[in-house]
């Protein structure tokens, strides 16, 4: 029997959910496509950070002393504080998704706002850290100054520090922008127990950005600390 075009294959007609786009058959299909799309996107993000991490790995093996020196110059209190802030933001984000799933509109907005506040706090602390590096002439380039036997390789360390944390901060800024749109949508009552896909996939993105920091913090701030404080 050849392939046929069968009438009435779309049982949904025109009385469908307002969020259902025309090219999907069901909300479930749309939800699964969006979620898969975000997961695939996060895979590309892993590879994106992966290029910089590969460079980090090579030079750390080649220049362990420079890595230890450069790392000691980073402010572990500010970095540690930011780590706590981001982990807390992951919790509030998870609670926002949970609230959206259960249809609790006010709670969704509240937890999303809390997540954004924590995200902005992180970025504020990052600005303080960058300003300090700028004053110490630890920003790579023509004005870079670093006294010490491994100064040149320390410049590579700082290039990768700014490359990695800068790229991460850019992702945070995009994340806060994304959440402000989602918060606005949530406050307008766009989500329901039937359809909360945007909250969920924004959550996936936010958790990913947090996880990147969970790797960056020890890789950049905690190189050889134990040895120096023992």
């Amino acid at each position: 029997m050849p392939n046929g075009i069968v009438a009435g294959a779309d049982p949904h007609g025109h009385g469908h959910h307002p969020a259902l786009q025309h090219h999907f058959q069901t909300l479930d299909q749309q939800h699964e496509a969006s979620t898969l799309g975000m997961w695939v996107f996060l895979v590309t993000e892993v590879m994106f950070f992966g290029g910089l991490l590969m460079a980090y790995l090579l030079y750390r093996v080649w220049y362990p002393e420079a890595w230890a020196e450069g790392s000691l110059d980073l402010d572990i209190r500010l970095g540690g504080f930011n780590t706590v802030v981001l982990i807390a933001s992951s919790l509030t984000m998870a609670l926002a998704v949970r609230a959206a799933q259960t249809g609790a509109q006010r709670a969704t907005v509240r937890w999303l706002l809390a997540t954004m506040v924590l995200g902005v706090t992180f970025l504020g602390v990052k600005v303080i850290e960058y300003a300090e590096k700028f004053e110490l002439h630890h920003v790579p380039g023509a004005n870079f100054v670093y006294e010490g036997p491994h100064g040149r390789q320390v410049e590579i360390f700082f290039s990768l520090y700014f490359g990695l944390t800068g790229l991460h901060a850019l992702h945070m800024i995009i994340g806060v922008g994304l959440l402000s749109v989602i918060t606005w949508m949530a406050s307008r009552g766009r989500f329901s127990t039937e359809w909360y896909t945007p909250v969920e996939i924004s959550g996936l993105y936010w958790h990913f950005v947090d996880i990147v920091w969970i790797f960056l913090f020890p890789l950049l701030y905690l190189v050889d600390r134990a040895h120096h404080f023992a």
Partner: protein, 537 residues
């Protein structure tokens, strides 16, 4: 054929304003929009190639200076690689026919699809800006430290252009992958998928995993140039070879982004014009995935003479040979499909024959280059230039034209002149061999690539090569002429001029705005030609 019904409302005439094109989310229109930009890039790239071939007709540097020559071959490659070869089949043909083939109304993310096109055009404009300000002289490979610390050409602008274009490729790959997973019509199981869809799936895998790496690598070079960061800078202890590793980690798999989709096209066209099921369907499907996976494990064969350890070189050499296995599976299975088929001599099949011959030569010479000892002699010679042109132009572009001739009636609703298309295929095949076969010999004799002057004894072969390029130009121009002519004067094609299987032939030509009047239901494999009435002349 009796009466041909022209759909009253189709994707082309549903709305005709400029805004309806620029804001469209229809995958078919987006495919056509890619065709326009890629054709422009192909024209630009060809002009630079012409400059290179004119310079090389004489041994002296009498047409352009050495510096201009560097810019000519770099801009040729930048346009051809990033703006032609990578998008040509997936973004044009893939966008147009893949959702039709799986019985979907559109790709999973239509707005993202439109965004990909804009991202692509933005990257293209940056590269045009780099060109307008004098071009780039580093070669398309952007090797450090020349690109990061030395070159005074517009590396930063071109780098930004390539960085941006990369995201277009990533988003297209993401969109295709989700579409193939989630948008298949009822009954369209994985093993009923047309092989072109399998090829696009494998390609998406490479786009998703490889492209971000080259994006960040180009980004690191940009940071070095713009802000004086030092990641590859040898003065600080940075490693330029690290750049080569990161660059080829993408740019070798990128070869498979270029060749896998045309391979999928070949499977479609061969099945149709031999009126047979594709021999060993699942082997051909899985060989696409195997090529995508192996493709990620061979990059260091570009670095055999860059001082990498002999042990890793041996492993990479072995793995490079291994890529030949899935490629050979495909080639043998295509031949077996043709064998005892009811061959229908039509233009798309002529382009396929061109592909088969040229891809075979390109693939086998790749084995020469994968051999450690031979590569030391052949590295950076015209042998390499000839080899990759056989794969990329002989393989990918011939495959694209096979697909374009196959689906042109579907895209436009019009037939082109089959006789002229056959002549064009022959001209391109002959012109191509005349251009690039002499370069194998030149390379073997030791002529290095990327120089604008050469010893006098190489002139005969270079003149042959340049004259072949002229034949090639005539062939490509002929294609442009009869295809454009067909838009206005071509016969109406009807829904299925090739009596082909596949859902894209179930809808009208040109297709309806939402592809199908009702969602199709699939209950058989992709190439059931044996069950089909054959009324071919």
């Amino acid at each position: 054929m009796t009466t041909i019904v022209i759909p009253r409302v189709n994707y082309l005439n549903v709305k005709t304003t400029v805004a309806s094109w620029l804001l469209t989310r229809d995958h078919k229109r987006i495919g056509v929009m890619y065709l326009v930009v890629v054709a422009l890039a192909f024209f630009l790239g060809s002009v630079f190639a012409a400059g290179v071939r004119i310079e090389l007709t004489t041994p002296e540097g009498d047409f352009v200076s050495a510096d201009t020559y560097n810019r000519l071959f770099t801009m040729h490659a930048v346009f051809m690689v990033f703006f032609v070869l990578i998008p040509v089949v997936p973004a044009i043909l893939g966008n147009f026919v893949m959702p039709l083939m799986i019985g979907a109304k559109d790709v999973a993310f239509p707005t993202l699809n439109l965004l990909s096109w804009y991202v692509f055009v933005t990257g293209f404009l940056f590269t045009i800006a780099a060109l307008a300000l004098g071009g780039v002289d580093t070669g398309w490979t952007f090797y450090t430290p020349y690109s990061s610390n030395v070159s005074e050409s517009n590396v930063l602008l071109a780098g930004i252009g390539i960085f941006i274009t990369g995201f277009s490729s990533i988003l297209t790959g993401l969109n295709f992958m989700v579409t193939i997973h989630r948008m298949r019509a009822p009954g369209m199981t994985w093993f009923r998928l047309p092989l072109f869809v399998w090829a696009l799936y494998a390609t998406s895998l490479v786009m998703i995993l490889g492209t971000p790496v080259v994006a960040i690598t180009v980004g690191m070079v940009a940071l070095e140039r713009a802000f004086g960061f030092g990641i590859f800078d040898p003065r600080l202890g940075g490693d330029p070879v690290l750049f080569q590793h990161l660059f080829w980690f993408y740019s070798h798999p990128a070869v498979y982004i270029m060749i896998l989709p045309p391979m999928g096209v070949i499977s479609e066209v061969i099945a149709c014009f031999s009126r047979k099921n594709v021999f060993g369907y699942s082997f051909v499907a899985f060989s696409s995935l195997a090529i995508a996976v192996f493709g990620f494990l061979v990059w260091a064969h570009h670095l055999f003479v860059a001082g990498i350890s002999p042990y890793s070189a041996m492993v990479f050499s072995f793995l490079s040979f291994a890529v030949a296995i899935p490629s050979a599976v495909k080639t043998f299975n295509w031949t077996a499909t043709l064998y005892k088929g009811a061959i229908w001599w039509r233009a798309p099949l002529m382009w396929v024959f061109g592909f088969l011959g040229l891809f075979l030569v390109g693939g086998l010479t790749g084995l020469f280059l994968a051999s450690l000892g031979l590569d030391v002699h052949l590295h950076d010679t015209y042998f390499v230039v000839a080899h990759f042109h056989y794969i990329m132009v002989g393989g990918a572009i011939m495959g694209f034209f096979a697909g374009l001739h196959f689906w042109w009636p579907k895209m436009t609703g019009r037939m082109y002149s089959d006789g002229l298309a056959t002549v064009a295929a022959l001209l391109v095949f002959v012109g191509f061999n005349l251009t690039f076969f002499p370069q194998f010999i030149l390379g073997y004799l030791g002529m290095p690539r990327r120089y604008h002057v050469y010893p006098e004894e190489f002139q005969v072969l270079n003149v042959l090569s340049s004259s072949g390029a002229s034949v090639l130009a005539i062939g490509y121009s002929l294609v442009a002429i009869y295809l454009v002519y067909s838009l206005f004067r071509g016969e109406r094609a009807g829904a299925n001029p090739w009596l082909a299987t596949g859902l894209e032939w179930k809808t009208e030509s040109p297709p309806l705005p939402h592809n199908f009047p009702e969602t199709p239901i699939v209950n058989e494999g992709a190439y059931e030609y044996s069950k089909r009435e054959v009324k071919v002349a």
